[in-house]
Symmetry: C2
Subunit: 233 residues, 2 copies
Amino acid sequence: MSGDPQGWEAIRAEVLARIRRRDWAPGQMIPTEEELAREFGCARATVNRALRDLAEGGLLERRRKAGTRVTENPVRKATLSIPVIRQEVEATGRTYAARLIRAERRAPSEPVAGQLGVPAGAVLWHLVTLHLAASRPHAAENRWLNPAALPPRWTPERLGTLSVNEWLVRHVGFAWGDIAFSAEAAQEEEAALLGLDRGAAIFVTERTTWAEDHAITAVRLAHAPGYRLHTVL
Amino acid sequence: MSGDPQGWEAIRAEVLARIRRRDWAPGQMIPTEEELAREFGCARATVNRALRDLAEGGLLERRRKAGTRVTENPVRKATLSIPVIRQEVEATGRTYAARLIRAERRAPSEPVAGQLGVPAGAVLWHLVTLHLAASRPHAAENRWLNPAALPPRWTPERLGTLSVNEWLVRHVGFAWGDIAFSAEAAQEEEAALLGLDRGAAIFVTERTTWAEDHAITAVRLAHAPGYRLHTVL
DNA sequence: GAGTGGTCTAGACCACCAA
DNA sequence: TGGTGGTCTAGACCACTCC
């Protein structure tokens, strides 16, 4: 019967409705937590829970002393799930495999060195991997690995049957990173690995990950055509 | 000096450290809130705040009665900010303009009708808009609008100087939607509007938005080359 | 200085669900 | 059915920041 929420979710729903109805217009201040608590007949903490949730969603802006206002130009926030490729493939019922194409120690280009925050001329591991779904190319991976983040005398043999990413997740972990998505024309090696013509439109994911104070890895993933990143707002 | 967090953030940091150190391995149960509250010498609500935050980030899985466990294969969650195009452009110091290229009433293709959940043959508004940054093409927009979501006798003249999106945000609002990103070869009209060759790699954003029970709009945005979607993990 | 949100506490009850 | 997380309360103190 009643799909009506209770407790703090009910308060969130009511506040949201007032914003939508423009009872509280964009840019306008809304009552204080204490006033709302009196109005709704609940504790201030309950109002706080509701307003904090809306603020995390970007609909409200809150500042001590200043109070709470409706965001003028709400920037929509979407949460993306970025799965490990193995799971992404296996979730569609296909078998996953990773093939290590090349692995060598060499100095990265200037931009890559900067991206990883290592001195120009530092020698890193450079790995090229092809990810396969049901024996067909799924994504081409181009990765730089900072040896300083790895155990001493690490070599690619240590990976065993794991992909580089899986090995890192299991043995290194990481603290934070950044990620960017773009559309690009396929580069030569990527096109060959994915079985495409040069210049084909590919979806590219670029990630850099860091441990406490040093870069771990920078990776460029070129996805096969048809790849879509999807989420709910 | 001390950048050490206090309160619930300190607890979150400690729990995170234990997960990273594998004191608590993936898949393993961790102590109950009550036990942790005793260990940290704080109220259970404080532990709850910390664990809830980690669970929202996908690192913990919590179920009543079952308890809390470390996620086996953490799916990384990234929060994307999706700004209104005007802001996106103006944030880079360029002037923004939108040019309405075409506006007509017609029936959408089968897939679009399905996407919007309208009967096949329903007549919708179809608008093509070019977004400009400093007088140069920024993105080509292809949008279907459900008249049922608009005021009676609505016409594109009502937009005034606003882009369709801005008008909708101001006058209709919306409840939820979904969004998808992909890389595609530029279609004919898009290529012409953006000043590209056909087949050029473009970044495409596709959005569908809904009000309570009916679709409002479906939009396809083709971004000019160089467009990147960026976020921090 | 004072008003507002941010957080903590101690206790309570409830909802869910594995055993 | 009992254990666990989810939430609420009433009150308190603190941190921030506008005035």
